[in-house]
Symmetry: none
Subunit: 199 residues, 4 copies
DNA sequence: CATGAATGAGCATTCATTCAT
DNA sequence: AATGAATGAATGCTCATTCAT
C-alpha cells in the first residue's frame, strides 16, 4: 500500500511468487487453447497454486488476462521504441522488424490473443487491443515518414498496415514449425517490401 | 411450391432451408463473438429454428462450425483459382490480391475464425485450418514462381508468407472501420511490395 | 378395423411386417441396454424402419415396451400351464422348471426387464409386472399344493417364492456365459431343493 | 465444532458431510426410480446441496453411483464374512442366509441396482457388478464345500447359484409388502433347500 | 497470503414426440 | 401405412466466482 518511490520496477509489492507463476502459466495455456477454453482450475494447477489464489491476486479471470495483455504490450512497445530512435531511418525500420520477429518468437501467446480478440466486437479486451494496434501503427507510420515519401505515392498510413501485417504473419509463421526458414531470410523478405514501398 | 413432378432437387437433399439459415446465422455470430462465446441457443434463435434442429442438421456445435470453415474455404479457393490462371503473371497476382480483399470483405467472419483457431494447438479445427493455410501458400508460391526469380534472391516460399500476411491484415483492417482508405490504395500498397520482392 | 373372426392368431390386422420387426429389435436392444437407455431411433434403425413408424404402430415408446411385456408374459404363462397339468405332481413341478429354464434362455430380455422394473415404485410397467409375479407365484403354489404338505411345515406360499427365485437366477446365470454347466445339472439342483421342501 | 487441536479426522478428508448426504439421498432415489430416471438435480435437492457439489465430489453421476455400489458391496461382504467363519458349517450357512436377508432389508436399493444392471451388456457398472457376483458365489461355494459332498451328486458351484438366487429373491420379496411372512419362515424355507442339496 | 469446498447460472446435448407429406 | 424433418423440455456437466477458515 505504500507509495514510496521504487527504483527499478513499477510493479507493486503484490508481485509475489504466486503472481509470477500464475502469469507464466496463464500465458502458456492461453496461447495453446485460447482465453475462453482455459479454465481457472487449469491455470492454477499449472502454476502450482490453489484456485482461490487466482482471485486473491487478480480478482477475476478476465483481469488476469488483462494483465497478460498489459504486460505483453508494454514489452512490445519498449522493444520497438529502442530501434525506432536509430539515426538512420532505414536502420530504424530494419531494427523494428527484427525486434518484432524476436518479440513474436518469445511472446507468441500474447500475439495470438491480440489478433484473435481484436476483431471481436464483444471481447472484454477488444477496445484495449484495438487501441494498442492504433499506437503501434502510429509508431510505424512515424518511422516510415522519416524515409521520405513513396515514389509511387503510397500513403504511409496505408503501407504501415501492410508492413505490420506482413511482419506479424511472417513472425507467427515461424511458430508453426517452419524452422527451416532462417530469420535472416524472413528479414530480407520484409526489407524487400519496404524498398518496394519506396520505389 | 408446386407439386408437379421434379426430376431433381435444386440442392442436395441435406441442404434444407433450415441448414442454410443456420449457416448464415452462425457465420455472423461467430464473427462477432468468437466460436466459444456463441451459444447454440443464440444461433438457433438467429436462424429462426429450434435448438434441436441444429443437432438434427449438424450433430454438434463443432460440426456446424466445421461446416462453416469448409464452405468458407471452398469459396476462397474458387475465387483465388480464377485470377491465378490469367496469362500475365503480374495480372494474376494482382487479381488474386483483389479477390482476397473482396473475399475478406464478405467472409470476414470466416477469416477471423481461421486466424484465431489456426494457431491454437488444441483447437477442434486446428489441423484443418493449418492444412488450408498450406494449400493457399502453395497456390501463392506457384503464382510467384511465374514472375521469375527475385533479383534480391528472396525465395518464393518465404515471400509467399509475407505477401499472404500483408494482404490478410490489410483486408481485415478495412473491417475495423477504416473506410476512408480506398480499396485501390490498399491494392497499390500490396502491389508495391510485390515489386519490392522482384527488384 | 374389421372385426371379422380370425382363425389362427388373436393378433389384429395391425400385425404388419414393420410391427414384427420392431418387436424383435426392441426386445434385443432392451435386453442389452435397458428400457431407459434404448432410444426410439436405435430401435427403428435396428428394425430397418423410420422413426415415425414406431409411433404409427405403437403410439409411444412405453406402449411398445408394454407390448413386449404382454407378449413375453403370455408366452411364459402358456409354457408353464402345459406341464402344470401333468397327472404326477412331481413331474408337473419338474416340467415347469424345465420350461422356465427354456423360456429364460429364449426370452432373457423379457426377464431382465421384468426383474428390473418390478421393484421400482415409479415404473410405467411396475404394477403390471407385480401382478404378473403374483399370478406366477399362485400357479407355482397350486402345483406345490398337489405335492402334499411339507413335513417341515414350510408353507407353500413361502416356498413358492424361494423356488421361483432359485429357478429364475439359475436360468439367468446361463446367460452370463456359464455354458459349462449343463441344463441337466441345473434341473437336478432345482429338483433337489423341492425334495428339501418336502422332507 | 470445537477448534481444539484434532489429531486426526474421524473420517477420510474426502468424506465430507456433503458426500455422505449425497450418498444417502442417491441410494434412496436410485432404489425408487432406477439409475437412469433419477436426475442429478433430484439427488442434489434431496441431499440439500447444490448440483455443482455432486460434480465437485464425484465427478459425474455415474461415478456417484459407482461409489454407491462399492460401498454397498463392501458392507455386504463384511456381513457375509463374519458368519462364514462359524465353526459349524451348517450354522455358517444359516448365518449367511440370515445376514443376507438383513442386508437386503436395509440395502434393498443397492440390491435392485445390482440385479438390474448386472445383466446389461452395456451398463457402466456391468463388469464391476458381475465381478461382485463371482466373488459372492465363490464365498458361498466355500461354505457349501465345508458341508461335505451332496449325496445326490450336485456340484457346489451349481447349487451356489441356486441358493444365492433363492435367498436373493426371497429377501427382496419382503420389500414388496409381503410383511405377513415372518423372517423365520423365510429362513426355514431356505434352510430346507440346503438340506435338499445334501440329501 | 492462501486455500479449496461449495455454489448455481449457463451451456451443449439428448430424445420422445409431432405432423405435414 | 410410412416417413423424417423439426421440435423443445429435460438433463448431465462446466466453470467462474464466493467465502469461511
Amino acid at each position: 500500500m505504500s507509495t514510496t518511490a521504487r527504483h527499478r520496477h513499477a510493479t507493486s509489492p503484490r508481485t509475489t511468487a504466486s503472481r509470477a507463476r500464475l502469469f507464466t502459466a496463464a500465458m502458456d495455456l492461453v496461447g495453446d487453447v485460447g482465453p475462453d477454453k482455459v479454465t481457472v482450475d487449469e491455470i492454477a494447477a499449472a502454476a502450482g497454486v490453489a484456485k482461490g489464489t487466482v482471485y486473491y491476486q487478480f480478482g477475476s479471470k478476465n483481469e488476469l488476462i488483462r494483465g497478460l495483455i498489459d504486460h505483453g504490450y508494454s514489452v512490445m512497445r519498449d522493444e520497438l521504441l529502442e530501434p525506432a530512435s536509430a539515426p538512420d531511418p532505414m536502420e530504424a525500420i530494419e531494427g523494428m522488424i527484427r525486434e518484432t520477429l524476436d518479440f513474436l518468437d518469445e511472446y507468441g501467446s500474447f500475439a495470438k490473443l491480440w489478433h484473435s480478440e481484436m476483431w471481436l466486437v464483444e471481447s472484454p479486451w477488444g477496445e484495449q487491443l484495438r487501441q494498442m494496434r492504433r499506437e503501434i501503427l502510429a509508431l510505424i507510420c512515424q518511422s516510415l515518414a522519416r524515409l521520405g515519401a513513396s515514389r509511387s505515392g503510397i500513403r504511409p498510413e496505408v503501407f504501415a498496415i501492410t508492413l505490420f501485417g506482413a511482419t506479424y504473419i511472417t513472425g507467427m509463421d515461424a511458430k508453426l514449425g517452419n524452422d527451416e526458414i532462417p530469420t535472416e531470410d524472413r528479414v530480407a523478405a520484409l526489407m524487400a517490401i519496404v524498398r518496394g514501398y519506396l520505389s
